[in-house]
């Protein structure tokens, strides 16, 4: 019994980690290119909303995910226009975009579904099913945890080594790193910094959009106001903790996902019937752990040398 509970917990953690991993992969890409996108939270929220709405009306989660990708890319194109082309402050622009996403989804949800029309909130019925991988999924413990998940989890897990490879071994990865360290020098040597920044932003928009859509159509089956609940920011915190290394970032998101899955199980278990453990402390757990992790390993971390600095081309 305890073993089964542990497997179930780990399996849930991997599932909860999936959107964080996708969003994190995207954000690492743009941050390594020198851009701090605090709009990630907003991108995810827009992805969650558009993914949900389109799935709700088409009945196809795949079309929903596609919509989330397009919306995420569009939102990041706006971010790119403001921070890359207009060279506006990235922190302020990112926060503005997140607030915009929060306001827009809040309004549109009510515009589409009306104001508390039914006691049961609208939800999607066609969910994304697990695709167990033959053979591998029958390995004890590891099988159910890693190989009996949705295609998105596999994609997210694969995205990390892929990202690692792209950054370390490819021309575009080298040029991205150079643009994040010193865009002037990179530009001087013939790297098209502006193009790369837009490209990485579009990639992040797509990944962040999918990440959000997974929250609404795969984890909750519905849309809730501000349902990303700070995950966009937490992912960025995990990137800082992981020193912009995709593998270390994965560990950070796993910590959050594990705590999040654990708290759900604590709530569901009989533990809470004992008066001494209020459910709010369970809900608090993932945030508290992230904060503690930041305090312990997040001190004085230095990122890519030009992270967050607007780059104005002189020539």
């Amino acid at each position: 019994m305890p073993i089964e509970m542990a497997i179930d917990l780990m399996r849930a953690a991997v599932r909860v980690m999936t959107p964080l991993l996708l969003a994190g992969a995207g954000e690492i890409l743009v941050e390594r290119c020198g851009i701090l996108n605090l709009g990630l939270e907003g991108i995810m929220l827009l992805g969650a909303f558009s993914g949900f709405i389109v799935t709700y009306y088409t009945g196809s989660p795949w079309i929903g995910v596609l919509a989330a990708i397009l919306v995420g890319m569009a939102a990041n194109a706006i971010f790119g226009f403001m921070t890359v082309s207009l060279a506006l402050d990235q922190v302020v622009t990112g926060l503005a975009l997140t607030l915009m996403a929060s306001g827009a989804t809040f309004y549109l949800y009510r515009a589409i579904f009306g104001w508390y029309t039914s006691p049961v909130p609208p939800h999607v019925t066609t969910v994304i099913r697990e695709t167990p991988i033959p053979l591998l999924s029958s390995i004890p413990v590891i099988g159910p945890v890693l190989f009996n998940q949705t295609a998105f989890t596999y994609a997210a897990l694969l995205s990390i080594p892929l990202l690692y490879f792209v950054l370390a071994r490819t021309r575009v990865g080298l040029e991205i790193t150079a643009s994040g360290e010193d865009p002037q020098v990179a530009d001087y040597l013939g790297v098209d910094v502006v193009r790369l920044r837009y490209l990485t932003l579009l990639a992040e928009g797509a990944l962040g959009g999918v990440a959000g859509a997974l929250l609404s159509i795969s984890q909750y089956n519905m849309f809730l106001d501000n349902m990303t609940a700070g995950r966009g920011f937490i992912v960025i915190a995990m990137i800082i903790l992981g020193r912009w290394d995709p593998l270390k970032m994965t560990l950070g998101t796993l910590l959050f996902a594990f705590a999040d899955s654990l708290q759900l199980r604590i709530q569901a278990s009989g533990l809470l019937t004992l008066a001494w453990f209020p459910y709010q402390f369970a809900l608090m757990l993932p945030y508290l752990l992230t904060l503690i992790a930041l305090v312990i390993v997040g001190r004085g971390v230095k990122g890519p040398a030009s992270l967050g600095k607007p780059y104005k081309r002189l020539r």
Binding site: R169, T170, R171, V172, L174, E175, T177, A178, E181, D182, V185, A186, Y188, L189, G190, V191, P304, A305, R315
Partner: protein, 509 residues
Amino acid sequence: MGTEEVVLMKGIVKVYPGGVVANRGVDFDLRRGEIHALLGENGAGKTTLMKILAGCLRPDEGEIYVKGRKVDIRSPRDAMNLGIGMVHQHFTLIPNLTVAENIILGMSDLPHLLNLEEAKERIRELSESVGLKVDPEAKIDQLSAGEKQRVEILRLLYRNADVLIFDEPTSILAVPEVEALFETLRSMVEQGKSVVFVTHKMWEALSISDRITVMRKGRVVARVKPEEVDDKELVALVVGERVAPTRVERAKPKETAEEILRVENLRVEGDRGGLAVKGVSFTVHEGEIFGIAGIEGNGQKELVEAITGLRPVKSGRILFIGQDITGRSVSELIEMGMAYIPEERIERGVAADLPVVDNSALKRFWVNPFSERGIIKGEVLRKFCSKIVETFKVKCPGIDIPVRYLSGGNIQRLIVGRELSMNARLVVAENPTAGLDVKSTNFVREMLIRLRDGGAAILLVSTDLDEILELSDVIGVMYDGRMVAIRPAGQMTAQEIGTYMLGGEVVGR
């Protein structure tokens, strides 16, 4: 050696946005297989001309021919495609990447999947063929200045450049490294490459080049062969009719002058750990300009930061007006009367987004009469600022506009004005005229002298030897974190100072 012209520049004119005319119709030619020295003082327009050739700047007028073909060079990449590359004074390397990565970065024909092994192999071969030893797997920030320069050269060779431009390449090198660089240059021209050697040092031009083009004030004044001229003729060409700078002697004799600054056996750590200042001692008196000469990066920056309270002292003492100020806060030092004109003007000297009036009071706003009990007196501030703007001829449309709208020269006037208006006992000036036009340069120097004559002590740190010679009453030379020589001005020739700066020993002393 052929006489075929690989580069021909005709009638080049370049005016910077600020109005400074750097090139006034310059003709220049480079032949295959030669080392061509471009000689002139700071500000003669040499670097501008070469930056135009390397695609970093666009000329306002003029034509460029490369290998007989008229070309339009719009970017460094265009220049590279024509086989032209430049080694700048400031490195264009990315510290966090390896040597190999830096060398291949940005090449237009780079495959999407990097083959770093192959690149490293080619870099090793290249470095052997021209005698430039460097480890392709090392990270740039672990390398010395000389090694970084080798990486820059290798990068050009890796891209098959056959016209190599060097901008003051020896300024960051120690003496043995200079010899090695010259060897490399010679071996490169033997392989059929052509080299432009930009320098303001005569002996370099004479010893390395096949031909010398002399520039002065944006014009070419002579094209000579080294064997046809001697030192004196060349000096006359470089300096022109101008008489050697006459120093204004100090008013007060040193004997009775009060000691303002005393530095005793000072040790200061550098940014990357390790000592940057390794036991420096000297004194500066009132009415005296103490000039510190030295090549950039020999501990001057750390010394200045320690004196101004911006960097902790490892050991030793600093006395200012008789008080030990080691470990005191910056604001205490300011209140005691220490002024500081930093080299990084925009980065450190001003807050670019704040108005001129705020910036003029950056070092005073918390003391009487600018504020009382934490409340700022706006009118006093405005009057103070207006006076600085007037006295120091800061051109600005209004004192409430953000400083970033001012030109570099005017920002420096504002800073100089601010620092000199605080009745300082000590002024620390770090390359105070770097990047300024002639008018502003003269203005700043006059102000420093006027202040000295008013009784202030001035610590002038400059990499411009002429500036040191023109202004200083006492000259100290820093090399490798040490003060290798201190002597009254006039008792040390420019050659001697230069030798000390490069870590050499002066015979007979």
